[in-house]
């Protein structure tokens, strides 16, 4: 279950559309299992208050998530995380892929051979995971 803390203290980048950052935050919560299949999520207004964002932006984020089939809203009832396992699994792979892509783009600028990069990656990964 997602706790209150998962929707507070989110730091927004002022140069990126807020609604996209909200969608991204939900995807992270889904990918890490803090939001589970079928779980009820806050109302739009509750979310706006918790994240201290414009209620119209919260509305737009929910609309976007409905279009991406991440959440479902039946009539006037509360919104829930989808129970479609395929969608839920794809959230995780999508996040990982986009991060890895950003990483590869960044290091390619410094011309690191793949071998060296993999070595470095393994070392750093252990270092950070251990710390």
């Amino acid at each position: 279950m997602a706790g209150l803390g998962d929707f507070e203290n989110v730091v927004f980048d002022p140069r990126v559309p807020v609604y996209l950052q909200v969608v991204r935050h939900f995807k992270e919560l889904i990918a890490t299992g803090r939001l589970r299949s079928g779980e009820v999520i806050p109302s739009r207004r509750e979310l706006a208050a918790m994240l201290n964002i414009n209620p119209n932006t919260a509305q737009r984020a929910y609309k976007e998530m409905e279009e991406q089939k991440l959440i479902v809203t039946e009539g006037n009832k509360e919104s829930r995380i989808t129970t479609d396992e395929q969608v839920l699994r794809s959230v995780r792979s999508e996040l990982i892929e986009s991060e890895v892509e950003a990483f590869v783009r960044a290091v390619r600028k410094i011309d690191v051979p793949l071998e060296e990069l993999i070595d470095l990656l393994q070392r750093k990964y252990k270092e950070l995971a251990g710390g």
Binding site: P14, R15, V16, P17, V18, Y19, R45, A49, N56
Partner: protein
Amino acid sequence: MIELIDVRKRYRLRQVLKGVSFTIRKGQITCLIGVNGSGKSTIMKAIMRLVPIQAGQILIDGKPRSGADLYERVAFIPDRLTMPPGMKLSDAIRFMQEYHRRWNEARSRELMAFFRLDASERIGNLSKGMAAKFNLVLGLAQETDYVLMDEPFAGIDMFSREQISKVFTSDLMEGRGVLLTTHEIGEMEQLLDRAVFLRDGVIVRDIDCERLRDEMGKSVIDVMREVYAP
């Protein structure tokens, strides 16, 4: 929608507003940005008919403003509390109740509790932050379609600012059209729908904040720097 169309205002020889046009839409928070002395407060006072304008039109939902009707549709929260210091908060509330037909008593009690204000206190004894909060109570307890807030965050501490910004996401603001001026744009940025920039007496930029981020990858502060850089 409140529409300002080519509004011109002169204080003696100084032309403050040289043809200001923009709109305040219902259900949106619009921020009016400008350096000190640029005429932000004058615009709010002009909407409220507290200062006369020399030319232009101000329409509320398509119609010109008329006296009593104006106060039922638009609440104005000036940059400082205008009630006499000897008055108790409860007296000021009673005064508002008698003066404003759209006063909502339940809402005023709710706001007093939210801001933890003591109704038996005298206005003169309020700290700056408390006075700013009480000022908001007096404005927001009016059930109007539009709210104008002049510098609601000026000179108050961070925690009070956070508390006040909570008001913007609450159902107190639902469906209302809000116009505010502030210097604390950084903290407010993600709360805004629109930002209009006033410079040299005219609106030089009128932006949809999410579109600005989406299409230009810029923040409201970035635009501020562009507009006001010396």
